[in-house]
């Protein structure tokens, strides 16, 4: 294998230049226009066997296409003494005298110039950032030479695991830090060094920069526990209500941290970031979903729809009305809500979600002005997911704060390691009676994986509302689980995770869409 061309290719370039390559590349590989594609579709067959094969090669000397599999291009090269051909799939050049592909800088540059013209590039209509392999810059090459140590990450490596010292009741922060540092797409963002600081001169005050440093700490390979005092300090100065050494709520900390991160990112689309609909900062790209609220007037059936951005989904626990209005007939043999109305307690994440998205009758005390009848009417309200976030964070409301009492609900709520959100989408909503298909188990599992999620972190709270402790389960690689208890990290099983008393559940999308 030669990385520096070969004498045959050099001789060819000296005699005919690079134009033959450029022409074949532009007409049969880059194919910028619809016309070019039509020509390609018609003409890309082996001239010997007439098959449109996968590895078709074009002779660089004459107009001949031959397939590689049945060696028709080899035969042509031999009989005509035309020893150079281009692979029409990848644009690489093969030399039949050297019996291998040869790599040539000039030709590679030509190929790159085609793929870099965005207007000509078909793929960019579909993907913002078509995949290209990493090529180190001069600076990066210098850095690599200066730091010769390499770390190989394989399925068994535990790089990324690091305990966090408890700074006095700061387990509420530690568990959120663990969940965030193990959010796959956030990790990719930070390890790829994608944050450009928007607080020049005071990057020490930037929480995003601090997160970047934290990722460096976590993935440095050092195993001793890390002391996150800088992070704590930054969150305290930016979210004053969390300051102080008392036990805080992990959910509140998560939302505060996301908010500070989002503010320090300041977006890059030039839009005001007070409107999260438009913010394209990394936090909003990952965590923002769209919650649709449909209010139907009972008098005229007029529906008014609003969509609000959300970073998490807070779900009620404890007794309440059943997931569906009483007049809906339960399907025979359905999973059934045997609990009598008003005394129904969800015991699984799915039931919580069903209750969350049920049509709710707003009684006579909560009349809403209808836009069509122009007067106050009773109405029905229903919430659904209009847009799913990349990372879905579910908050099981285990802490009840009412006037006079504070209570913790310790009911076991089961949750799956794979979750399909299709039934809770606005598109699954039937205009008149809520969901057309009310029993989720009866729904055909959607063929595509578009709305499917995988569990990757669970925050737990043990103890009472007064004295408690937060821990966190996180997933490493595809299926290895670890329990993070401040500075201690121990191996865990998925069964342990699924049997735990979850408080915050983190899921990530299985498949990412590209706009």
């Amino acid at each position: 294998m030669s990385v520096h061309g070969c004498q045959h290719l050099s001789a060819f370039k000296a005699a005919k230049g690079t134009d033959p390559f450029r022409i074949i590349y532009s007409y049969f590989i880059a194919c910028p226009s619809a016309d070019a594609r039509r020509i390609k579709a018609k003409s890309c067959v082996c001239h010997t066997c007439r098959q449109p094969t996968l590895r078709l090669h074009a002779c660089m000397y004459c107009i001949y296409f031959g397939c590689y599999g049945a060696k028709h291009i080899h035969e042509h090269a031999k009989s005509k003494k035309h020893n150079l051909a281009i692979d029409l799939t990848y644009g690489t050049v093969i030399c039949f005298s050297c019996e291998d592909y040869v790599y040539d800088k000039d030709l590679e540059d030509i190929a790159r110039s085609f793929s870099q013209k965005p207007s000509l590039n078909l793929v960019s209509e579909y993907l913002k950032d078509p995949f290209s392999s990493w090529e180190p810059s001069e600076d990066e090459l210098q850095l690599l030479k200066k730091n010769p140590k390499r770390r190989k990450v394989d399925a068994k490596s535990t790089v990324g695991l690091r305990g966090l010292i408890n700074l006095g009741n700061t387990c509420f922060m530690n568990c959120i830090v663990q969940a965030l540092t193990h959010t796959p797409i956030l990790r990719d963002f930070f390890l790829a060094d994608r944050h450009t600081c928007q607080m020049p001169g005071e990057s020490k005050q930037c929480l995003v920069c601090e997160m970047a440093r934290l990722f460096q700490e976590f993935y440095s390979g050092i195993c001793t526990p890390h002391i996150p005092y800088k992070l704590l300090h930054l969150v305290w100065t930016n979210a004053r209500h969390l300051a102080g050494y008392e036990q805080q709520d992990a959910h509140e900390f998560l939302i505060a941290a996301l908010d500070v991160l989002h503010r320090h990112c300041k977006g890059t689309n030039g839009m005001s970031c007070s409107n999260p609909h438009l913010c394209n900062c990394i936090i909003d790209q990952i965590f923002t979903g769209g919650l649709q609220s449909d209010v139907t007037c009972k008098q005229c059936n007029n529906v008014s729809t609003t969509i609000d951005p959300i970073w998490d989904i807070s779900l009620d626990l404890g007794p309440g009305p059943p997931a569906f209005s009483s007049h809906s007939t339960p399907s025979p043999g359905g999973t059934g809500f045997t609990n009598s109305p008003g005394n129904y307690e969800p015991t699984s994440l799915l039931e919580c979600l069903k209750r969350f998205t049920r049509p709710e009758h707003l009684g006579s005390s909560a009349k809403i002005k209808c836009g069509k009848c122009h007067c106050y009417q009773e109405s029905t309200k229903q919430l659904t997911m209009k847009k799913l976030p990349v990372v879905a964070c579910f908050h099981l409301k285990r802490f009840e704060h009412s006037t006079g009492y504070h209570k913790k609900i310790s009911t076991f709520v089961s949750f799956p390691d794979e979750l399909d959100m299709t039934p809770f989408m606005s598109s699954s909503r039937n205009d008149n009676n809520g969901f057309s298909n009310q029993i989720i188990q009866d729904m055909p599992t959607s063929l595509s994986c578009d709305n499917k999620y995988s569990l990757f972190a669970v925050v737990n709270h043990c103890g009472t509302i007064e004295v408690g402790h937060y821990t966190c389960y996180i997933r490493l690689h595809k299926d290895q689980w670890f329990k993070c208890d401040d500075h201690m990290i121990t191996k865990a099983t998925i069964t342990e995770v699924l049997n735990s008393e979850g408080y915050l559940l983190f899921y990530h999308k299985q498949i990412l869409e590209y706009e």
Partner: protein, 103 residues
């Protein structure tokens, strides 16, 4: 026998037509890019790359041809493609074909 022969010819014609459609519309490139992205996301690319590196290091750069590499990694590469990636691609191709009126 004649039936079988006829079917083979028909299948080949169908394959050629589908291929032509995929190329003409640019769908083939989009599918390729989608597949590439999925294989990068799931770690397939890194796995195969590491495997290729091992082979090259074992035999020495001068003694390996692309054909050798292809022959050695193809079975492994095929086996390692996750099922859900195959399913997604198949689904996309189906959708594409159902939108083509004249096939």
């Amino acid at each position: 026998m004649a039936d079988l022969q006829e079917r083979k010819i028909k299948d080949a014609q169908m394959r050629a037509t589908i291929n032509q459609k995929l190329v003409e519309t640019g769908e083939r490139e989009r599918l390729k890019e989608l597949l590439r992205t999925r294989l990068v996301e799931c770690g397939w690319r890194d796995q195969l790359k590491a495997h290729c590196k091992d082979i090259v290091q074992q035999k020495g750069l001068e003694h390996v041809t692309v054909d050798d590499l292809v022959a050695e990694i193809t079975p492994k590469g095929r086996a390692l493609v996750p099922d859900n990636v195959k399913k997604e691609l198949l689904q996309r191709i189906r959708t594409f074909l159902s939108q083509q009126s004249n096939i």
